[in-house]
């Protein structure tokens, strides 16, 4: 390097920089994701295995009147995978903290929001990949979008938005936990009941009354119901999903609520974490 007086690089993090920095970090996280051997297992083999297991193991035992179980299952299982996948956000941030990457980023003149935005966006890209893969496998087994292409894409979008919102909760979890093991444990404890005490795999009507009260009023059920109404289309009323528009609005309401709470909490934790 010569002793030339380098012009100081641009400083003001205008909106352009906020976006560019977030995308630079997103690209880095996407590269990390796809080079991680665990990614192959948890983002390809595991989701495929889940679809196959649920379709063939539970599929025979669970009869949903009026619809094929596979058509009932796919919207539920992609929401389940997306919610579990949000754990990656926590693990990724905890890893970056532990290895000093967050310090490196904080010492650079980049937008302060880029680390969290880049993480949650990269994990949403991962979700898009996994959801597409699971739907593809479902298709081979006989799953079909019964409500048309627009409804299908809307359904996928709702699921991805929910996954994105959930990533923000896990951003807080990861920063708070500080190490990978704690982040992993802190995630699963409350995600399991949320996912399994929902309409993801079975109709909530079969659960005991107290559990129904929980299952019918929690976000995972709201999102699963919306996605299911959209993918089942005209068959939706057969499983008690009568008003698709209302279900979608309810799901988006949960997404908005989670984002409104989780983003400030996550950002606050990021600023605090040193």
């Amino acid at each position: 390097m010569t002793a030339e007086t380098a012009t100081p690089p641009a400083v003001a993090p205008g909106f352009t920089w906020v976006v560019r920095d977030a995308l630079a970090v997103t690209k880095r996280n996407v590269l990390r994701n796809i080079r991680n051997p665990q990614f192959v297992v948890f983002s390809t083999i595991q989701p495929i295995m889940f679809v196959l297991l649920f379709a063939f193991v539970f599929g025979g035992a669970i009869a949903i009147p009026g619809v094929e179980y596979l058509d009932f299952l796919i919207p539920g299982i992609i929401v389940q995978t997306t919610v579990f996948g949000a754990t990656n956000t926590a693990i990724g941030l905890a890893e970056d903290l532990g290895r000093g990457m967050i310090d490196r980023f904080r010492s650079l003149p980049m937008a302060r929001s880029a680390v969290l935005a880049g993480r949650t966006l990269a994990d949403t890209a991962r979700n898009l990949f996994v959801v597409t893969l699971m739907i593809g496998v479902g298709y081979l087994l006989g799953f079909r979008f019964r409500g048309g292409i627009v409804a299908a894409l809307t359904g996928i979008l709702v699921v991805l938005l929910f996954g994105y919102a959930f990533s923000w909760i896990f951003a807080f979890v990861g920063l708070k936990a500080g190490d990978v093991e704690t982040a992993q444990a802190a995630g699963f404890v409350w995600v399991f009941p949320l996912v399994f005490a929902s309409s993801a795999f079975v109709p909530t009507q079969t659960m005991p009354g107290w559990l129904q009260a929980f299952a019918q009023n929690q976000p995972v059920t709201a999102v699963v119901d919306a996605a299911r109404a959209l993918t089942l289309g005209p068959l939706a009323p057969a499983v008690g999903l009568d008003n698709t528009a209302e279900l979608v609005l309810k799901a988006l309401g949960w997404v908005a609520l989670v984002l409104v709470v989780a983003i400030p909490v996550g950002v606050r934790q990021y600023r605090k974490t040193i």
């Binding site: 690089p9 880095r28 903290l97 290895r99 490196r104 010492s107």
Partner: protein, 335 residues
């Protein structure tokens, strides 16, 4: 280049605690343009805390710190584009290649894509990493990682560079290679603040050394001045019969306080100015007193000797003492 006396780092009475543990207890220091300031101290002395404050990663509880005229709290944003940080806590991404790491950092310094790539290539070459540039950093040796870390801190062409223990844990060869690269940077006019536990490293690289202990500056000056204060070399004597310790001490030094004595081991260590002459004298005097020498040697002073001379306590005692508290606190605060 050198000779300019513009102050680039100014620290005034900076304090920082983690809970009840005081990491910095009123630190003052200054560094001029194109100079190398060595911050020397044992583990837990407060070196890293100070570097983290100067690189905007941590706020001081009180006092003020300015780098290149920017207040580290109020002007943190503009300051970040003019500084670089390398060290155990400013990592590289092991899943990315060397080139991708540097390109990412360049982009985050807000260079254009082309410029970021050009500098990534340039910087890799400069640090002898061109060949490894397309390999993931996880395949790098320890020395290569440190070089990549150092390269990353330079992509933005910082005017002030902070190196936190740049060679800790490296083997001798990698350490020497890294020293050469750091010396070259300084020749090009970069102002450097370097923390180290090794007196030898501060001596080799820094033209001004600040010794820090328990959050305070306990000595400051050129390495020559510090060594004069200390004596140029240290003479280590081991005698055979520990029963003769008192006689031996009398034969080695005039004033007992000058020596560091371990009676159980029969060990006397003393700073000396005229190395080989002192060695000869001591051998003769011990011989005259009829004391058998097990081992006698001249060596360069270590950080431990500096601490003995400055505080009367060994660096290790200080370190274990402070690390037990601060280390735990820090890792908590960090996580």
């Amino acid at each position: 280049m050198r000779g300019s006396t513009q102050t680039v780092i100014e620290v005034e009475n900076v304090r920082r605690s983690f809970g009840e543990v005081v990491a910095l207890d009123g630190v003052d220091l200054r560094a001029a343009q194109g100079r190398v300031l060595g911050l020397l101290g044992p583990n837990g002395a407060g070196k890293t805390t100070l570097v983290r404050i100067l690189t905007t990663l941590l706020r001081p509880d009180s006092g003020s710190a300015r780098v290149l005229g920017h207040d580290v709290v109020a002007d943190a944003g503009p300051l970040r584009s003019r500084i670089g940080l390398a060290g155990p806590y400013a990592a590289v991404d092991e899943m990315l290649t060397g080139f991708e790491n540097l390109e990412l950092v360049g982009r985050l310094y807000h260079l254009s894509r082309d410029e970021a790539r050009r500098r990534a290539g340039e910087t890799l070459e400069r640090f002898d990493l061109s060949e490894a540039g397309n390999r993931p950093a996880k395949t790098y040796s320890g020395g290569m990682r440190r070089r990549l870390d150092l390269a990353a801190s330079l992509v933005g062409k910082p005017q002030v560079l902070f190196l936190d223990e740049p060679t800790t844990g490296l083997d001798i060869r990698s350490r020497l290679a890294l020293w050469e690269m750091i010396e070259e940077l300084v020749r090009d006019g970069t102002t450097l603040l370097l923390t180290t536990q090794y007196l030898e490293e501060a001596d080799q690289l820094a033209d001004h050394i600040v010794v820090i202990d328990r959050g305070s500056v306990i000595a400051s000056g050129t390495s020559e001045a510090l060594k004069t204060q200390l004596g140029a070399d240290v003479l280590d004597v081991h005698i055979d019969d520990v029963g003769q310790m008192d006689d031996a001490i009398a034969a080695v030094v005039k004033n007992r306080d000058e020596a560091h004595v371990d009676p159980q081991m029969g060990h006397i260590s003393v700073p000396v100015r005229d190395g080989s002459a002192a060695l000869v004298n001591v051998v003769r005097r011990l011989d005259d007193a009829g004391i058998a020498i097990k081992d006698i040697a001249l060596r360069r002073p270590t950080l431990d000797d500096v601490f003995l001379a400055l505080t009367g306590e060994s660096a290790e005692d200080v370190a274990t003492d402070v690390v037990a508290n601060v280390g735990r606190r820090r890792s908590r605060a960090r996580s």
